[in-house]
Assembly symmetry: C2
Homo-oligomer: 467 residues x 2
């Protein structure tokens, strides 16, 4: 008999099925009842809600012994209107198959609530909980929304490499990739490591960004985006850092600063609206259980215009606040890299809406950002959000070969292995821009979860690579 | 003035724009003409076709000097019906901006044809060619089709980790990931590497498959898929192997062998039909320039039922062919792992259609495959295609804890770090199945390209990690 998903039974109009025999399969969340009737709450992962199975204890005496929290069962039975289970329909069991038991003495996910820390230790089972089921379904929806957004705009998904030989020298925050025997590293005559004997014949590492290769794509295909794993070997044990995370990096030929900030705003609003439109049940659960202000905050983002704030104006606002007596831990003056407290003041207290800060001092931004005529600032953009801070970082790219080389020389950036990047400016150089969105930062915002380890299935952090 | 994409001008009905002034931006493919008129073929990467710009040499004397193959320009001009350029419309230039020149003495992509080997050396520029533009746009379309297929079926995109501590011991074909100083590896007292001092506190490597973690997802969310980079440190310099490639791995609770093969067939047909429906211009180009049988072969796949062929029957067919005088290089008998020549005989000569081979001898398949009652075979499936051979490998998974453990013990598989995987069979075990599709193998099939290095932007192979 064809299995029906519980999502279908609880979300669609199934009035035509009332009175017919159907089949569901899933995992038992709870069992309760008395001598005359047993109620089984069954979940199959397709939706946060359970369907109620009503079983006659006399008929299913043997089966009910094995039906405990976590057990996997299949049920055939009559679909009926529910008498009060909170759902519109329930199933009167006619046949029950036990696929897999879950010993109540050892199964770690019993009915009682669990701490996030404990659930991280059983990361292999936590997707079976309501909270992580909701987060993982939303993670899918957000990923699909990203692909849909760019596809509909004519951007091409461009797979930049994860193993890279660029940027490896002196990059302390990169993971090295090697097939050499670490017990017996091949050495050159001078005693240094002989990378020529490694798999790729040179030193390689895991990418920290696909941007530079993304620019190769944009300057050929017009507009591309990457969406894939990215790595930082930073020894940061914080609720906001992962060693392996997913990043979205669009790159667009012929975009100027206005085009760029417009795309950034449109993109985030599209994603947040997608969550509100497509993740109703999961959002309601997270709003109730994790963060009471979640849905309201999401709605406020899509209904407000983001502020465009030149860095220089932002500094003025912060300096005025200090003059009026506002205390910041870190000093504020033109040229400083803003601290989280400064960004939060601007977003949460001054403007009370998302802020896209632009035109940063060139000294605090990357070498490839387009230089403004003032000689002091570059066309970088940070999108600053309530609670989570920077969610997007982007810039117009410097398309002038001479200006770019001057900056590279000033900053003493090793470009030996970067000839291919410079070729984009040597041959048919074009104005272009791009940005990066940390996917897990987005997930924190749309789920209300507090720790980045809880919005990715299997987090990698210092000293942790379980599962 | 708002730029219009060339794809829009050449694919949509733009009759309402005829006679108006529009703006396009892109890269010059060719310039030709005479004293009275200049024709510029402009491409912006949005479509394989160029739009023709007609310019008055007297008016644009200075600009035309800088307009050579590869230069980046913006053009404002009147859209007119074309007099014979092969396209419906062309543009009479009113204003031309040069964004970036391309010195014809050094720019490597001149009009003449280039070998695939040469284009690999300039992998940073090859997306600007017709062939690689077509392949990269199709790569996007296939990726988007994959997400669309699974989203519409209620599968959740599940991000399995790339850095893994499982399966590292003795896995010679994995890339190690480390932050240790290779010039000064920390050692334990016994002289061996002290992985406790490494970033993750243990030995880690890049994943060769997300399947095992995918099973954790499927046994919680019901149906998931992965789609991401996967790694093999195999020293294989062949047209079919990459060290870094993209893999799609769906995993489904409550699927049996029939469900699995039905999904495999539906999936591939959906993807091939998507290519035919959505990549018309690029496919026509590739059919003309790369593989004259391409479009016909794609059509044949979607219009035929795939054969389900038990391994034992396949062996009989091959043995009969041998008896009738067919020569194979490798011997055929029950129990052997079929060679490519055997698979091709079945697919291309015997059945003349795709074959899904099932029920393989357990000795030649992985430990996790569901054991049949005959005690000899397992419910593995390989989807075999004309020309490219195996495009999908999958199986029903053994859901019985006892049977799985017996097999693990027989094969002496180290399961010390795999307790979490076994928990899926310990707690609420369910029938489930899944498969893996090598994305680049699919790309070879849908593009007709011959070398796997030419269907991924930046291939990683032994001794090669450029760009």
């Amino acid at each position: 008999m064809q299995r029906l998903k519980i999502q279908y039974l609880l979300k669609e109009d199934v009035s035509a099925l009332i009175g017919t025999t159907i089949c569901v399969k899933g995992w038992v969340r709870t069992k309760r009842g008395n001598k005359n009737v047993a109620f089984i709450a069954l979940n199959d992962g397709s939706i946060i809600h359970n369907i109620q199975i009503v079983a006659d204890p006399a008929k299913f005496e043997e089966e009910l012994k094995h039906i405990t929290t976590g057990a996997c069962i299949g049920v055939e039975g009559k679909l009926v209107e529910s008498q009060g289970s909170g759902q519109a329909v329930e199933i009167q069991a006619e046949n029950i198959v036990i696929y897999g038991e879950a010993d109540p003495n050892t199964y770690p996910l019993q009915k009682k609530g669990h701490s996030m820390e404990f659930l991280r230790e059983i990361g292999h089972l936590r997707p079976r909980t309501n909270t992580f089921g909701a987060v993982m379904r939303m993670r899918h929806e957000m990923a699909y929304a990203i692909h849909t957004f760019f596809h509909n705009k004519g951007f091409y998904y461009f797979h930049t490499p994860l193993i890279t030989a660029s940027d490896c020298e002196g990059a302390g925050e990169m993971f090295q990739v090697t097939t050499m025997d670490l017990n017996n590293i091949p050495k050159k005559e001078d005693g240094s490591v002989d990378y020529e004997q490694d798999f790729f014949g040179k030193q390689t590492a895991l990418t920290v960004s696909g941007q530079l290769e993304g620019e190769l794509g944009a300057t050929a295909l017009g507009a591309i985006y990457t969406f894939g794993p990215t790595f930082r070997a930073e020894n940061s044990n914080t609720p906001r850092h992962l060693a392996e995370f997913w990043m979205v990096e669009p790159e667009m030929a012929f975009y100027d600063l206005d085009d760029l900030t417009a795309l950034e705003e449109e993109f985030i609003k599209f994603l947040v609206k997608w969550a509100l439109d497509n993740c109703k049940e999961d959002l309601e659960f997270l709003n109730n259980m994790i963060d009471k202000g979640l849905i309201e905050r999401l709605k406020s983002v899509i209904n407000t215009d983001f502020v465009r704030l030149p860095y220089t104006e932002g500094i003025k606002i912060l300096e005025e606040a200090v003059a009026k007596g506002h205390k910041f831990e870190f000093p504020v003056s033109w040229g400083v890299d803003l601290a989280s407290e400064h960004e939060r003041f601007l977003v949460e207290e001054h403007f009370k809406k998302p802020v896209i800060m632009i035109d940063y001092p060139k000294e605090i931004k990357a070498f490839y950002m387009k230089q403004n005529d003032d000689g002091k600032t570059v066309q970088g953009t940070d999108v600053l959000f309530p609670q989570i801070g920077e969610i997007i970082g982007g810039s117009v790219r410097e398309e002038s070969y001479d200006k770019l080389m001057t900056r590279i020389t000033e900053l003493n950036i090793p470009m030996k292995d970067m000839w291919w990047y410079l070729d984009t400016r040597r041959y048919g150089s074009c104005p272009h821009a791009g940005f990066g969105l940390g996917f897990e930062r987005l997930m924190l915002f749309v789920t209300g979860m507090a720790n980045i380890r809880d919005v990715i299935p299997f987090p990698r952090t210092p000293k942790t690579a379980e599962f």
